[in-house]
């Protein structure tokens, strides 16, 4: 998809003006946030688990090449074919070639963020394949031509009524007078429509939450079971995964699973956690005939060599966005690409460059909630601050902002001058604002004053009063 991160302020304004989006987002605090809180409270050792998860991810990334080779060797020995893609276009071409070799017409997909990142659906559809998303949220937004607005709840921005209207528009083969007024009826309809797709599909594509070097397996985590159907029923199964998804052993994967679902949805385990290892075996009655794993770099090796390495620890739980006041205000689409929220504000500049994405790391209050919930302890605020430094170095801010910050530093590093100017400014501000105690409009601070008053100074600076009044008896 074409990123619109450079238009972040406009995107955000549109989001803020959308009452239905705001209503949908208002469910987050009482939903995913409260559920996580309860799940974490139920495990007294949760902080130790976070620390263990961080250590596992760090140790794996430190020696990633060895673990990738070990994974490849084992996966091949278990009958999978392993492919490597440097970038998005190579990954898409590899998947297309597999589909063509299998004479595929219908592809059914499990949820995969990297497939969004590389634009896989559009690539396959342009070559005449029918591609159907099977995660219910992904299915809904695919029909709308949208991208996910949340990495684990892709249609979080839509209401039941939105979905009902969409289903009437798309499922024209069903009776027009059917009832679609409950979540149950909507889910049942999607289940029936998608079941036919699962049964007819030639190829199933899934992502991977983890790739296990010890066993050559991919692990997917779902609640719907759609990923399992996608990797069981079609003749060909393709896993698309970035190279950072490897874990050395099953034991390490289990520790990561202990923090993943609790952080994401507040479940201790999702309904389905599945280890898939190679194609169907002799004697098996079901399962795909071919198993392919496409290992995708697409910028990860560069991140690994950069000061953004810590961000590669991410296990895509979405907790950072659930707890982010900015995400809660505007939702995911405003971020303009695949990954929203705090992790998106770090990943997007890493993958697309800072020039077009500098709003994202700047549009944060640095409240730090994301860091406190991240199951792998990514220092998201520090990483956003590093991107702000890059943006500054590349002179991406507006000239008045640059001039003002220079003026502030050059004044503040001259204390005598600073205190003199402060006295003058505060005297003027105090005289003008003292009666009301605040300003409603000024020739500057327009952003601030658009929504709130600016409290007026009391008339003299503390430094001035401290020196001019009796010790201990102010004024």
């Amino acid at each position: 998809m074409k990123p619109s991160s450079s238009r972040f302020p406009d995107n955000a304004a549109a989001a803020l003006a959308n009452p239905r989006l705001r209503a949908a987002l208002d469910t987050l605090p009482g939903g995913l946030v409260a559920q996580r809180r309860a799940a974490v409270a139920a495990v007294p050792e949760f902080e130790a688990l976070r620390e263990a998860a961080r250590a596992i991810r760090d140790a794996t990334l430190d020696d990633l090449a060895s673990h990738l080779e070990a994974f490849e060797t084992k996966a091949i020995s278990m009958g999978s074919k392993v492919h490597w893609a440097s970038d998005a276009s190579e990954a898409c071409r590899i998947v297309l070639d597999i589909c063509r070799a299998a004479r595929a017409r219908l592809v059914v997909k499990g949820k995969s963020m990297v497939s969004e990142e590389i634009g896989l659906n559009a690539h396959l559809e342009a070559e005449g394949l029918e591609v159907v998303e099977s995660d219910l949220g992904e299915y809904i937004i695919q029909k709308r031509g949208e991208t996910p607005s949340h990495i684990i709840a892709p249609a979080i921005h839509l209401t039941e009524a939105d979905v009902a209207a969409d289903f009437r528009a798309y499922h024209t083969h069903l009776p027009a007078d059917r009832r679609l007024d409950t979540p149950q009826s909507l889910v049942a309809e999607a289940r029936n429509v998608l079941r036919q797709k699962f049964l007819a599909a030639d190829v199933g594509i899934t992502g991977a939450n983890f790739l296990v070097a010890e066993t050559g397996s991919s692990i997917i985590v779902t609640n719907e079971g759609n990923g399992d159907l996608a990797q069981t029923l079609p003749r060909v199964h393709i896993v698309v995964a970035t190279i950072d998804k490897v874990v050395p052993t099953l034991t390490e994967a289990m520790t990561l699973l202990r923090v993943l679902a609790r952080s994401a949805t507040g479940q201790d385990m999702t309904a389905y956690t599945t280890l898939a290892t190679g194609p169907r075996r002799p004697g098996d009655l079901d399962g795909p005939e071919q198993s392919h794993i496409v290992l995708i770099d697409n910028g990860r090796s560069e991140m690994l060599a950069s000061d953004m390495r810590d961000a590669l620890r991410c296990i895509r739980c979405g907790a950072c966005m659930n707890h982010c006041p900015v995400y809660n205000a505007i939702g995911g689409h405003a971020y303009g690409w695949v990954y929203p929220g705090p992790i998106g504000a770090v990943l997007t500049p890493s993958l697309l460059g800072i020039v077009e994405t500098s709003h994202l790391p700047n549009a944060s209050t640095f409240c730090g909630s994301c860091e406190t919930v991240c199951p792998v302890k990514i220092p998201l605020v520090s990483l956003m601050r590093t991107w702000r430094e890059r943006a500054k170095q590349q002179r991406l801010e507006t000239w008045p902002a640059r001039a003002l910050s220079k003026l502030w530093i050059s004044t503040a590093t001259r204390p005598a001058l600073y205190h003199l100017l402060a006295r003058v400014a505060v005297a003027i501000g105090g005289a003008l604002g003292r009666r009301k105690g605040r300003f409603s409009s000024l020739p500057f601070a327009r952003g601030w004053l658009a929504h709130r008053e600016l409290p007026a100074p009391q008339g003299r600076t503390f430094q001035q009063l401290w020196r001019e009044t009796e010790r201990g008896v102010p004024r």
Binding site: I140, A190, N223, T232, L285
Partner: protein, 218 residues
């Protein structure tokens, strides 16, 4: 070739920093149980996930246990899909049930699998695919029943991995399914609905009288 180029870049990046070690890992004490406590915790955790739990005194009593649960619910079928010889050998007709062998078919209403292990930590069933327990049994029908011998109920995922490694060594079966409840979704309006793509209902039959194997060493 992309493979070598990627590995070269990754290796170069890795060489820039010292390698850190993964600390020893163990299940948190609050999630660790064994023996009867594990069975009790499994019941509690599975029930909390909406899993129906019934007991059978022995494997040959499983047909009767299923018949009784069918008569007490609205599941309208007397026909069960399964393929595990350990279960097909019993007298299903005596319980007015019929069985069909093989992997699941789209029209199947109910299927039965045998779990390799169950994990008390979260109330999770561990199923290993193969000719005896095709993976589709757990995915296609609206109701899925799982037989678990009480002796195979273990405390933690680490314990379950020990069982897995004991049975399969270094080569896992094609699919290992960790199942923790019926299929569900929260994708429409944030409300949880069951039966999104897989089963609406999950039933676990705990078989009591198998001889208890020694628990894995702590």
């Amino acid at each position: 070739m992309s493979r070598d180029a990627i590995l070269t870049r990754v290796r170069a990046a890795g060489a820039m920093t010292p390698k850190r070690a993964t600390p020893p890992l163990a299940a948190p004490p609050s999630l660790t149980t064994s023996g009867d406590a594990a069975i009790a915790r499994f019941r509690t955790m599975a029930a909390a996930k909406g899993i129906t739990i019934i007991d059978a005194p022995a494997r040959d009593a499983v047909p009767q246990a299923i018949a009784s649960i069918l008569s007490s619910t609205e599941i309208e079928t007397r026909q069960i899909r399964l393929n595990d010889p350990a279960m097909t050998k019993f007298d299903w007709r005596a319980s007015s049930l019929s069985i069909e062998l093989g992997a699941a078919e789209p029209q199947d209403v109910m299927a039965l699998s045998t779990a390799r292990a169950a994990v008390a930590e979260t109330g999770t069933l561990l199923l290993a695919s193969g000719a005896e327990n095709p993976a589709t049994l757990a995915l296609l029908p609206e109701t899925h029943a799982i037989v678990i011998d009480a002796m195979n109920i273990v405390g933690t995922f680490e314990d379950a991995l020990t069982i897995l490694r004991t049975h399969y060594g270094e080569s896992l079966p094609r699919a290992v399914n960790l199942i923790s409840g019926a299929s569900r979704t929260g994708d429409i309006g944030g409300r949880i609905v069951h039966g999104a793509h897989g089963p609406h209902r999950l039933i676990v039959i705990i078989v009591a009288n198998e001889i208890r194997a020694p628990q894995p060493a702590p």
